[in-house]
Symmetry: C2
């Protein structure tokens, strides 16, 4: 963790709970007494550092300007806790920050609620809290309120994290499926399938020549630039559980419009494609944690593309399709060989506990 | 559940997921596909009913006036899920609504994040969601955004719920320990220890002649009246894990003032006292979920008391002590027989998974 702490000197530089004395999380760390207060103060408050957390009140009190705000919540139960490209701590920030961004909001504050399983190595918790802090700093959002619970062994799985977030909306756009118009184009911000495959590879012991890392990242910076450019964004959606296809099917249903996409415009890393073939997955349904679609008037698509591509997480952005008015709310895809097929929502479970 | 649904005709009147087909929660209910969308739409959106939930966007977009807001989060892992006087659903609303109230805020909106264990009876989930809805309606707050995850058997415990909340602050008071002044009095809103004992009784198979029910309730209505009366509230704190004593010790530390309380002013139901003696607990340390202390100038204490006592949950309100300036930040109590002792924070774990 020295890299992280070097970047952010204010917090503790090594695990602030004495490991020799408390190598693992114990039931009493959630009991409301001295041990819990020590854990909260030394592990969470000292590391996540914000004036609101330091007040240690029942909640954070925040100033707010008139207008609209976005509010979202996500619980993270990913297994394993650590994976190539991230861990449950960074993921818990990215997931919620991205949900705020998809509402067209600038992430303002986060809450963090930890459900710890008795026996969790204290060092693992420390790594996760540091990673959560770093992801929050990078996304420009601060953790202002939190909660810690401990459950017995076998009643949890290491750690689950809930983050909820408030974002500020300082424009007048109504961003959502019902704002989509016929002729709008669909821009996808990058290659797909990396998060799901990175996690599955760890679980199944799969090895790659060039390792697949999760795409887990905040897209709030990209979205802020799209908004600042004055683009008339009609809808955005990040591609998490259920992948690109489930996101598009949901959008088509809510928008009551058909969506057509072109397979050849959808970028998939060769390693991801290979792993999908081996494991029997379709990349269209595999989870992502740093990819989104933005739907806007065709005339503005190239400008949007240029903005997204300037970002490291947006280098592979492409226009992948269009929304069509006056048709049934279905999603169709023209394949590489020119055939057309309907894309449906995932029918069962593909990758459990991917986020 | 017929009572609940009769009160609120808009939602489904019986479990909206076909029990014959899906008697239990399955992994696929969290997989991001069709089954999850059915569960979200039919169980959560249709029952909790709010325009924001119905939009099924990544987050809720809400109007807000200039000023201050309160933001808080709590994860609920109580075991058992159902207990005399409530269940995890109502508790998840009361806990978060009360945290907002303690900040002097009027509860505005809630999020609800469910972590379900595979195998949870669908009927139990339905009861819990109904109970959560009823508690939210009663507290005057609506659920505007949510999340559902499913973990494998043995990696969770039925259901964990995180609720986060936003409250609106429309006064200029700075409510918190640092606002406490020497000579302020401490008003306790009711009898203590019922929540912890009600839950422990179920766990240990203890039976009472007159059953002890949890005090779990929203205190937001009482707080709204205290604020509307123009009382100069310096600090409030609800008494959850760690009980009255832990709350007072925390306050004394943060306020850097001594707190003196009188044991004879603290109301404890005879059944609760008896159970505490039998189980070896001190009621001062037992969890509550509908009790709080309010600390304010002595001259206003009687008015506060009168307001609190008008509420069914505040009938046993008493002035229990005072804050003293220029002393060490400790809590002392004069016992029934006139001796004085120091009150410390709970040192370990007393009642695990009480909230």
């Amino acid at each position: 963790m020295s890299d992280n702490t070097d970047k952010h000197p204010p917090g503790p530089r090594s695990c602030p709970i004495p490991i020799a004395q408390y190598p693992h999380v114990m039931a009493a760390h959630g009991g409301g007494g001295k041990l819990m207060h020590e854990l909260v103060r030394r592990m969470f408050v000292a590391t996540l550092k914000s004036p609101e957390l330091e007040a240690e009140h029942d909640g954070a009190v925040l100033p707010v300007s008139p207008g609209r705000l976005a509010f979202t919540t996500d619980s993270f139960v990913i297994s394993p806790l650590f994976f190539p490209g991230g861990d449950i701590g960074s993921l818990a920030v990215h997931g919620t920050v991205n949900d705020l961004a998809m509402c067209g909001a600038r992430p303002y504050v986060l809450s963090a609620g930890f459900i710890l399983e008795e026996g969790l190595p204290m060092e693992d918790l420390w790594r996760i809290v540091c990673s959560l802090r770093d992801a929050a700093l990078e996304a420009g959002v601060r953790v202002v309120t939190g909660d810690t619970k401990v459950v017995e062994r076998g009643k949890g799985d290491g750690v689950f994290i809930n983050t909820s977030g408030i974002g500020l909306i300082d424009h007048d756009l109504r961003i959502g499926p019902t704002s989509i118009r016929g002729g709008d184009v669909i821009v996808l911000s990058g290659d797909i399938g990396r998060h799901g495959i990175a996690v599955m590879a760890v679980r199944s012991g799969l090895e790659f020549e060039r390792p697949v890392t999760s795409d887990s990242a905040s897209v709030a910076g990209i979205v802020a630039e799209l908004l600042a450019a004055g683009l008339e964004i009609h809808c955005m959606r990040d591609l998490t559980r259920g992948g690109l296809s489930s996101a598009l099917v949901e959008i088509a249903h809510k928008a009551r419009r058909a969506v057509h996409i072109e397979e050849k415009q959808i970028v998939v890393m060769p390693e991801v494609r290979g792993a999908c073939e081996m494991l029997g997955f379709d990349p269209l349904y595999v989870a992502n944690e740093g990819r989104f679609v933005v739907i806007l008037p065709a005339a503005q698509a190239e400008r949007a593309l240029a903005i997204i591509r300037r970002h490291p997480h947006g280098r592979d952005a492409r226009i992948i399709g269009t929304a069509v008015a006056d048709e049934r709310p279905i999603v169709t895809m023209t394949s590489r060989i020119g055939t057309r097929r309907m894309i449906d929502m995932l029918s069962g479970e593909q990758l459990p506990r991917i986020c």
